[in-house]
């Protein structure tokens, strides 16, 4: 079986003990963007397609929103 490798622009962030990467999932841009994670920032797990209704040509960032008492919905 052939490896499917059509990806670019991976952006890595570190959050709560994990390295997260989002990237252009070139074969399915009409469906969303790619996502993978790593425990050590070196060994990366299988990616998956994160689906968005309008597709994603180029993702820009993924930013966690921390729920604190100040920001929590009341």
């Amino acid at each position: 079986m052939r490896l499917i490798q059509e990806q670019e622009n991976p952006i890595v962030t570190y959050e709560e003990g994990y390295y997260l990467v989002i990237f252009d999932y070139l074969l399915s841009e009409d469906d969303g963007f790619g996502f993978s994670y790593s425990n050590d920032g070196i060994l990366w797990n299988d990616g998956q397609l994160i689906q968005l209704p309008r597709g994603v040509r180029t993702k820009i960032a993924v930013i966690p929103s921390h729920c604190t008492p100040r920001h929590a919905l009341r």
Partner: protein
């Protein structure tokens, strides 16, 4: 991408220049013109490093000074790196290890035949002990991030 160093003392950025220096050109004589079966765009991709001249948090607004090329097509290029050269660089720091930097860099085999089933766009990892480098390509590149549909468990490690 832009990286912050030593609590807003200096800002470092990596970029791909749009300047194409000789002997390379968008349509090098060694390649056939782009057509229905091939996309022969040679971008001569070279990753430059620049640092902000203005110290402090507002240094992010520049101006920046070009320092050097930290990754480019050379004798250490790998087979998956195509005519795009090194076309992007996304650097991150390992948590708790100030002197360990990794960077995803991209390239494309734009000289391969223009068929949907052909892989063209890849990413690989490079490592360095400082933002200035030297940056060393990982031996088992490219990294396959999006193999969910292939069902192949292909990991990459340093």
């Amino acid at each position: 991408m832009v990286s912050r160093v030593c609590s807003v003392s200096v800002w470092t950025t990596y970029f791909l220049t749009t300047h194409i220096s000789p002997p390379f050109a968008l349509q090098p004589q060694s390649c056939a013109p782009s057509n229905a079966t091939g996309w022969y765009v040679n971008f001569d991709g070279k990753i430059w490093l620049a640092k902000s001249k203005t110290p402090g948090r507002y240094g992010i607004g520049g101006p920046y000074q070009d320092l050097k090329i930290i990754l480019q097509p050379d004798s250490k290029s790998q087979p998956w790196e195509g005519l795009q050269g090194t076309d992007s660089m996304f650097v991150y720091n390992l948590k708790g290890k100030d002197n360990v930097y990794l960077g995803f860099y991209g390239s494309a085999n734009t000289q391969s035949t223009w068929k949907a089933q052909d892989n063209k766009w890849f990413v690989g990892l490079a490592t360095a002990n400082s933002l200035e480098g030297p940056w060393v390509r990982a031996h088992n590149n490219p990294v396959n991030l999006n193999n969910a549909r292939s069902g192949i468990h292909a990991h990459s490690k340093q």
